[in-house]
Symmetry: C2
């Protein structure tokens, strides 16, 4: 069971794409951290998310301290996705049963003080001479890996599913 946490992401296109992947990969809670006022699902933003936020429980935390308290109370392990020297490579990481995958904003990523509060830090291996991966893509790759051994696959051979 996984939760997705977005910490201060700004681009509604990225947020929308991540919501779509979150739902496609069977995520549970979708959490906004560090948004004050709360992130708003305006008409434009819903176009990017295809209104799929209604298929997951969305929560908002103005302060990340409140997020971590909630995670602790719910017994959910926190997994920061960030490029640091100590981060575990994604294919080698064993995800806890109940976890929250946490992503930082487009410029700057996750702040150090937030990373320090997380139970784990994970990074995606890269192979080219120049790395440049969109945050929505990084998030979706993590969701894919997290479900790689999940056998509860939905029948996707119908009109409900497409790569669009």
């Amino acid at each position: 069971m996984f939760y997705t946490v977005l910490h201060q992401l700004v681009d509604p296109r990225n947020i929308g794409m991540i919501i779509r992947s979150h739902v496609a990969f069977g995520g549970k809670g979708f959490i906004f951290s560090g948004y004050d006022p709360p992130y708003k699902f305006s008409k434009k933003n819903k176009a990017y998310s295809r209104s799929l936020e209604k298929h997951c429980i969305a929560q908002q935390f103005a302060k990340s301290d409140d997020l971590f308290e909630w995670l602790k109370n719910e017994d959910i392990k926190s997994v920061a996705i960030e490029i640091t020297k100590e981060a575990v490579l994604l294919p080698e990481f064993v995800f806890p049963e109940k976890c929250a995958i946490i992503f930082g904003k487009e410029s700057g990523g996750l702040p150090d003080e937030l990373i320090e509060k997380c139970d784990y830090v994970v990074k995606i291996p890269q192979f080219g001479n120049i790395g440049s991966m969109n945050v929505a893509i990084s998030a979706s790759i993590v969701m894919y890996e997290l479900n790689r051994n999940n056998k509860d696959i939905k029948d996707v051979d119908n009109k409900m599913y497409s790569y669009s």
Copy 2:
């Protein structure tokens, strides 16, 4: 060694994100299929791709027949990424040493007659009740899986790499 083929994708944001992932995952050729006139890297389009197309050999084929002839001559196996009943699930697929992963346009995906010409068809497992995965995200997940056992990982702990 993998090549990425885009068949008639239209959104320059998607194309740009796929080029970024292609470079990050160490892809070789980047191929446009079914573009007549050829896809143009305008100033706007380069903003989406971060001009990374200059880091890979980009080719254009107006007709997909010419693409398949070229693939055959180069001994590159073709792997259509599409949701079909017969498609192999991505985590179970063993990628050929030299392969081209082929993606179709945002609305409609790959045409049946193109899929029939491919050596393999692969789909991404989904777990939610509603599937809605962006094509750039699907492409990047496939590139991740393709490199999952690749040990030639670049040191990404520097300013050249970020999730942005």
